[in-house]
């Protein structure tokens, strides 16, 4: 697997307790794209079990146990990632990708932040994508009951609905609709007896479907939400690309004022080059934008998706438009 801008791709695999993260990682490891991956397993319990379930050479598997890597064990996660780098630099181990399995209770957003904010890790690793697993049987209930499960889904680039064989089609369809309602950024795929389309998953990190073909900033504002949920999303597409400098200003101001409420920002922006600029933000953190070599689909429309909590998406769209109008008139 080729590095991203010279950095080692890091895929975060998250999902609630018992939702099938380890099974998914085993499926990923069986595919050529991930065959030479190192694995970091984070477990809430002090004694890890999951890392024994992988048939990999031991030196490429690291356990971060005794708490979640998003909070109590954050320093341990940093050390595990640094240790992998030290060992690869000494020639003791070889890998071209890192798969990080979070604990079932982890929030992936601070984990991303840990990697992006660390000067060494951010220079050597590039977060390729976050994949969340959601149980077809217990998933709907978990989303309603546990904030952790919801945060995992809203942070994801792809959601894998697991245990498809145990649920009926209508329940799976309803679950997929629910996921799309509060995370339109995410690709939703089904796992059948542990089998999943790896190629589709691999592209999830840079994909952002242009769902809205008619680009008018305000008329195209399409808030999605589910009843009784404070989480909503907003998708914007543009015929004329927004000014990205003003977009950057607006985004830093928005995250400064409402970082806790902006769960996710993801955008593909036409900046006049062959490929788009990939913009990603999770809560208070905006990642360094990435220039992609090509657009992920036939559309070359600039697009932005927001997932917010307790913010009216219409106000967000109004604010965005007001800031852009000033730039265009200045």
């Amino acid at each position: 697997m080729s590095p991203i801008e010279g950095r080692i791709p890091l895929t975060i695999v998250t999902g609630f307790l018992g939702s099938g993260k380890t099974t998914l990682i085993r499926a990923l490891l069986a595919a050529p794209r991930f065959a030479n991956a190192a694995i970091i397993v984070n477990e809430f319990g002090a004694i890890g079990i999951d890392h024994h379930l992988f048939r990999k050479t031991d030196e490429r598997i690291t356990l971060v146990g005794g708490g979640c890597a998003c909070c109590a064990r954050r320093d341990d996660l940093v050390e595990a990632l640094l240790d992998l780098l030290r060992r690869v630099d000494r020639g003791e181990v070889s890998f071209d990708h890192v798969l990080l399995e979070t604990s079932g209770l982890a929030n992936p957003a601070p984990i991303r932040h840990t990697v992006v904010a660390d000067p060494v890790l951010s220079r050597r690793y590039q977060i390729a994508q976050t994949i969340a697993t959601l149980d077809a049987v217990a998933g709907a209930s978990n989303l309603t009951t546990y904030g952790e499960a919801m945060r995992q889904i809203t942070s994801a680039d792809a959601v894998v609905i697991t245990k498809r064989d145990l649920a009926d089609e209508s329940a799976i369809s309803a679950l997929a609709c629910r996921i799309a309602g509060f995370n339109p950024v995410a690709l939703v795929v089904l796992a059948d007896h542990g089998h999943v389309d790896i190629e589709r998953l691999w592209h999830a990190g840079i994909d952002l479907p242009a769902r809205h073909r008619h680009a008018d900033l305000i008329d195209d504002a399409s808030p999605h939400h589910e009843a009784s949920s404070a989480i909503q999303s907003l998708s914007l597409t543009f015929d004329k690309p927004p000014d990205w400098r003003m977009l950057g200003l607006w985004l830093t101001m928005l995250l400064h004022a409402h970082g806790e409420s902006v769960l996710r920002v993801k955008g593909l922006l036409d900046v006049g080059e062959e490929g788009p600029l990939l913009l990603e933000g999770v809560q208070h953190v905006v990642h360094q934008p990435r220039h992609l070599q090509r657009w992920p689909d036939a559309s070359r429309q600039s697009r932005l998706v927001f997932i917010v909590r307790n913010i009216d998406p219409t106000r967000l769209a109004d604010s965005f438009a007001a800031f852009q109008a000033v730039e265009q008139s200045s």
Partner: protein, 82 residues
């Protein structure tokens, strides 16, 4: 350098309603200034908002209706002049 100056000008457009302005400082940092001439140095643009709030004594919110009204008025004025 030109890009930094252009970015600072954009920030000033938004900060003007609070009596603040932003300037690039030799390509290494930015200077935030209020109407009384007080200044603060910020190392990057993401830090501008916290410092601007400290200088103006009030939160800065891109969803604030008054701020948005100011920006819309500014856009209309610029458009009519243009």
């Amino acid at each position: 350098m030109l890009d930094r100056a252009a970015r600072a000008r954009l920030f000033t457009v938004v900060l003007r309603s609070r009596g603040l302005s932003l300037q690039d400082w030799e390509g290494s940092s930015y200077i935030l200034r209020n109407a009384k001439g007080s200044t603060a140095v910020v190392s990057n643009l993401a830090q501008v908002w916290a410092e601007a709030e400290a200088m103006s004594g009030a939160p800065l919110d891109p969803l604030d209706p008054l701020l948005l009204d100011n920006l819309r008025a500014l856009a209309r004025a610029s458009a009519s002049q243009g």
